[in-house]
Symmetry: D2
Subunit: 500 residues, 4 copies
């Protein structure tokens, strides 16, 4: 049936053949045992376990009309606004369990995007081959509960040039050969979340295109162990600590990872090609995907915000200041900022749009962009407040090794203690947790750049907001009869949408 | 049937007897003809016309199960989340028509609050007299489509003292005599929106109380022309201009008004008393009402934001700068801030709670408070950006009278013109509109204080957010076993909730 | 000697002949008696009285080496950093006395700018006629302690076109005829502070120019009663209240005014022409002036901030909440924001630059722009906090007339009272003061647009900050050898500097 | 003479005996060779080299009247406002050379504080033993150009209790024995900047005290190799990378460190005791020191801001987007925020106060607090903007080891390249620099907590701002005669000043 346990997922990773993954310059044999990637495996695994854990199974399961079975929600095609709402609620809960990004959303959003784009091409242009291939693929994914990554962001070379204008022709992933049984692709995708710990990856175009860019307008899915696929895992803050022993400093937490995905002339069979030279649809593709992904941030980042607020409150209690007015002021501000992000995501979900005749439930694009744009700002503010509450020790606390040194331990226990009922070690644990969540790639940089940079959301908001209409409203109130504004909306070429 | 036209409403106002209303020290005979109050009548009237206008009738009508008829939504008891959503959507549209507060929400929210409070007392304590009286009153209101004000905020004397502790015993409205046929009340309510142009007013308690405050824990409804009721209308920015002639400077716009409502030993018959000495329920009363009202701000203030953005965009076009990057940056920021407020209100509506066995649909308290708290901040930022775009002329533009002076007019037309296709007068009209919306009591001060001051929302957010739970989440991630936080939540006495 | 009393200034205004001033469409005979302009006269007058008042005479007097006498600082040429520091300190104190803009800075800054520009042309190009004419004029101004306005902002027509490209050739003030004894000018200047209550006005160019714009590159000074000069006074928030009787609502405060200054072919004799067809120096002219003026905002706006903080604190005391933590939090934030603006202005003064061989003390351009840019933001935030503290009554308080109505007065005194030791009338007075300062053209719109819009400061900051150098610093730390950044600085054409 | 070279400083560190320093649980033999501490030694060393480098020697040297020689400014007693200005200017330049905190300010500020406090006790109470001992010590420090740390922050136990009330009597450093030749102290100080790489440390009290706390009111200086002194160096973000090989990822940068300083019954001879049981002066001590230190942040943090802006601009150029309006907007905003912090610090310096009859030049307390309070906010905003410009790769870039893997290198060079003229490696180098500056303890957490938490500055601002006076100003403008505000200023007990 369409539900794997977390252990089955981990087992599956071990069965991948020939995956070519590099961490800090060295090839990794087993991602599930590697100190750098294990925390990432654990976090991804949580998405499978969620379908069995009592407190999340209601949210994490959904009935798929495609295979007539219950599936893990992370491979589900949204059947209505309630499904979109369930998405953000599930993501918040999963952040509570992982304390980081669990990396399975991009693939999920890619599935829903392909469902709409292939469906739309069928509806509008009568060409059904894409949607048919995709539905077959979807069934396969759902039946096997696959772990998917999604790869959109090209490396992009000179940012101001289109794919076909680049000095480096491979600056965007492209088709270098068309064969009877499929295509051969070359190029690289950057910032690919969770890429080393998935079964398959769905590749998508990253911007609007013109006819000259047709060879770049492609989308397909392949297993990660396809020949010619290379993954170079990126660095993270504090990553070297993962190689330390110990259960406090040695980063016992889960982490996400992101990586560089390189295609060295990789063959993709036709049945896995869902979009080919469809440059006209490329901008829409990016828009549909981005907004799905922007909505999701409401859930995962507010969940991470909860962890940070919780750690801050815990530290305040250990210092005996949790009831001081200025501390309560800060805690309340953090909660306010956090819930603002979340509520925008709920609005983006409840006010969903149906893009296909028989479904294709998409988020509300205005509120999805509002959500993500808030997420590009508020986490830095929440972190700042958390650091304020935590005290300077957040940046100066001794190491776990100091704490375990028998000569130092009694001194540190004596001097790190705040309110007597809490052991000093708890304070140290909360400080380390706060350090590694509030100052993490997942909470800061990813909040800025995931699902498109701040500027991408601004362009979307500018397109979606109806300036013409509001000028008419104002003109009417001002007693002006004739003012009709030309359309402020820029050409929907979308190219900046996924640009950083 | 339960729907009046705007004209019928205005006609109704004229039929009120003996209303004792003062504007700038003088008694007003006919509010519908008075220059100070006419703009307020027009704005209130829009809520009636909405039920007939093509673009709003869908939203502005609702079916009432109480009288088995279609009623104006402004007297409707919400039957589910969709009704709460319809509320904010309707309010946004009405702001587009009025450019100001239309003053009918407080009475509406009071009806829904009384429905829940009287219903709750019946459910919990078996006492049904309140709910029965209220349902009778509700039917009367719905059948006659009455214009209602709601009066909550007492004058409060020394803010830090409870009603019974005040040096001035009448600092909160109270019962001074209990008679067989009813009660006699004394005191005053401040900041009462729309009070001079309604048929009736619903009076509510303004804070949590103790047993000693029992005589202050009352709620009732009376016609505005009840003997002993005095209304002193408050000043507004630019109000004296209403007495000027002219169609540009003479404030041809609609406006809201707020007033002081004084009860000089006013008799209220029992059938209009819905809450009497129920001090235990007083805090809950305030909370239920406040959150209804906080949710509503998402609609009206974002609608007003649209007007301000529209005027700013119109001015930018007239200066020829609408396509400059820094202007688009500002317009986009305004739209972003505006939609953030709105989306929080949508979340507060969709995530509604059912408080009674058979209904009693209430907003989500977290998102309602988030909504209002955003509204206490963002309008000042939107105004600042609007002023930036509009240019310094916003504060220095000549008067309409200058413009109409035949000697000056050609000079002003010549020198005030920006882009040639737009007459200079249009620029002047948009400047005046922007001045009187972006710098208005409705958009600034009311955004801060309506439905409770910022601090009231902060206390609510602090109560609703579960700090204990998030500390447990953080502790669990940090490997701490035992940390159980005592409840941060302060005693739910609510007294600060409606304080400034 | 070079010092007039305030009364002498007022007397001087009455002696002006033929001034053609319009207020609300009507010609004004005596500005010192007109309800609309009297508050402005009083505020300007304070700059004269300051030279005699005990608490300000030390700051308000300076020794002029040009006439060998003590002069009012408002006509002084800065002789070193201490003079620039004295400027901002004096302005802050004067705001305390006036509660508004006192309107004499623009003329003062114009004098200092002309001293530098004419001096610079002499130093660089050997042409001394401008500086000689100017020094003669300066002596005349200092000896007679004249009240000067400065007029820079042209009406500008289509913002994106240069003067010579405009469809309306008079969109910028220009020379239409050159005669043996002088020039004839035509055009209009907008937003001219204090223009109706001065003796003379100094006209300046508003932007960088090209050779084609030469006829627009002019600066001169003329008495306000020169034939062909028309002044149309602009409206202000709440302005109509000035026509009311009464000492509370009738705006007993001082106010500034700004106006439209129209030149209908006005003759200017050569000895009053200080800059003629000097298009190459036009951009620098604007830059020198703007930065002087931006520095000054540190003083006047922080002084106004003090008034607003004082009124807020006074109201908090009257409600009995001045010691509540959240109120103290807000008061402290207001003080912090206010002192931030002020300290930037002090830095701009102390870090002055000497532009001429023998003086020409100018402000530091980076910190002057930082000062003004802070001023475009923080007053809105300070106002918001003031409104928060003041309570909703700020937007709903009854009128003075209500208060004086014998029937209403006892009721209002009873119900408006907070802490018993303060009469209700004091609360009303503080509310009106706060309304008319925190929501005034002087504190909001002028803070945004005076001395150039926010965008003008941003361009200046971008020009002054050395991006090239900091890239080198970063490159060196990163171990990059060769990175030399091309100059980010945009062409110094300055045209946006004094734009809207 | 009183000037050592950097190399002499390093040599001096090697000559310390018996220092007991722990890093990650292990005793460190030679701090100058230890991978964790070497970057810190280099940064501290820069303060010595500055006195010889051509571009800084003018700022870094000063003439000491105490020893009649030129000394390194870092051991200089300020002789006037110019010295205070030179301080912030020097600190900014040193940040450019180090890219981090150079750790010598605390000791410097401690010297100046002791000069004032001991001098003040002599002036006010006639007791000259402290000042005499201190001057002797000062001469010794100046002649030998010692590297000093300053230790103020006690571990503080339960934050809400005074020293004498703590369950742990050693929660604040205290005298446990008084001997004929000196005192014996016990306790610990936290967050001590640069502690492992100094010659001596000056210990100071951390809060205002009462008579019962007398044994805690002490200040003294001792060499770091005094028996009983233990240092436990704290962790930093990314610290484990220092153990990696390599010149890009292996953190080739300088870093600061902070540590835990433990006194296990350490003997201090009387000649090194500068303050003993002087509980009455303890609050003032903290205030004098804190404001010195708060002023300094203007220099070092704006210098660090320059590095971050430079790296961001360099990255924008490598992506080809440096001239895009939204990128320029962000760069300009960063510069504006950065210069705001700096200009407040200049004001704090120029507006210095003289606290002793013969000197004792102190900063202006209002502007020093404004400076530091800005520093607690703006770096987070600057970092956010830097991350926005840098792109997502900031959090996902491959490692140096990947880059050096011969198989991966050509691929990474191909795909990481932006604008062709810049090698991909430069981009990687700038990304790592930006990661390790914009997300560092020095730029974020230290900016919040150094020299006292944000709340400490707020209390100072509240004390220094004259609320009483501004209420009088407002009352006078409002026509209120009698309003005299009681003093808002809280008791100057100072205890919160150095609290978090």
């Amino acid at each position: 049936m369409g539900l794997r346990t977390g252990d089955q997922y981990v087992e599956g990773l071990r069965k991948r053949k020939h995956v070519e993954i590099y961490v800090m310059g060295k090839r990794v044999e087993d991602v599930t045992a590697h100190p750098f990637l294990k925390p990432s495996v654990k976090s991804f695994k949580a998405t499978f376990d969620a379908a069995f854990d009592e407190d999340t199974r209601g949210l994490a399961r959904a009935y798929s009309p495609f295979i007539g079975e219950v599936v893990n929600r992370f491979v589900h095609i949204h059947q209505g606004p309630e499904d979109l709402v369930a998405k953000v609620k599930l993501l918040r809960k999963l952040s509570h369990k992982t304390g980081t990004c669990f990396q399975r959303c991009v693939g999920w959003d890619a599935l829903n995007t392909l469902y709409i784009i292939t469906g739309k091409i069928a509806e509008r242009e009568g060409r059904r081959e894409y949607v048919e291939r995709f539905i077959e693929y979807l069934k396969y994914v759902q039946k096997n509960d696959l772990a998917l990554a999604g790869a959109m962001t090209d490396v992009k070379g000179v940012r101001t040039l289109r794919p076909s204008e680049q000095p480096n022709k491979d600056a965007y992933v492209r088709v270098v050969e068309e064969r009877e049984d499929g295509i051969v692709v070359r190029g690289a995708k950057a910032n690919i979340t969770g890429i080393a710990v998935v079964d398959e990856v769905i590749v998508m175009p990253t911007r609007a295109m013109t006819e000259k860019d047709a060879e770049y307008a492609i989308s397909f899915a392949i297993p990660l162990d396809t020949p010619g696929v290379k993954v170079v895992v990126g660095r993270q803050l504090n990553d070297s600590r993962r190689f330390e022993e110990g259960e406090i400093d040695g980063l016992p937490y889960m982490f996400n990872h992101e990586g560089f995905l390189i295609f060295e002339d990789v063959f993709v069979p036709w049945e896995r090609v869902f979009f080919y030279k469809e440059w006209r649809w490329s901008g829409v593709f990016v828009e549909v995907f981005s907004n799905y992904h922007r909505q999701g941030y409401a859930g995962c980042k507010s969940g991470l915000g909860d962890v940070i607020i919780g750690a801050s409150y815990g530290l305040a209690r250990r210092l005996g200041v949790a009831d001081k007015p200025h501390i309560q002021e800060k805690l309340t501000e953090m909660a306010f900022l956090n819930e603002t992000m979340y509520s925008a995501g709920l609005a983006a979900s409840w006010e969903a749009r149906k893009l296909l005749r028989d479904g294709g439930w998409w988020v509300n694009p205005m509120y999805a962009n509002v959500t993500k744009h808030l997420v590009t700002r508020f986490p830095y503010e929440i972190s700042r407040l958390a650091h304020d509450i935590a005290g300077g020790l957040l940046g100066t606390a001794p190491s776990e090794a100091d704490f375990k040194n028998p000569e130092l331990r009694p001194l540190l226990e004596k001097y790190l203690q705040g309110v007597p009922e809490f052991p000093a070690e708890e304070r140290l644990r909360l400080l380390r947790l706060l350090e590694n969540t509030s100052i993490s790639v997942a909470y800061l940089i990813e909040s800025v750049h995931g699902a498109g940079s701040p500027q991408a959301q601004r362009l979307s908001i500018q397109r979606v907001y109806d300036f013409q209409k509001v000028e008419q409203i104002a003109s009417s109130l001002a007693g002006i009869k004739t003012a009709m504004a030309p359309d402020l909306k820029v050409e929907p070429h979308r190219q900046t949408d996924s640009e950083k």
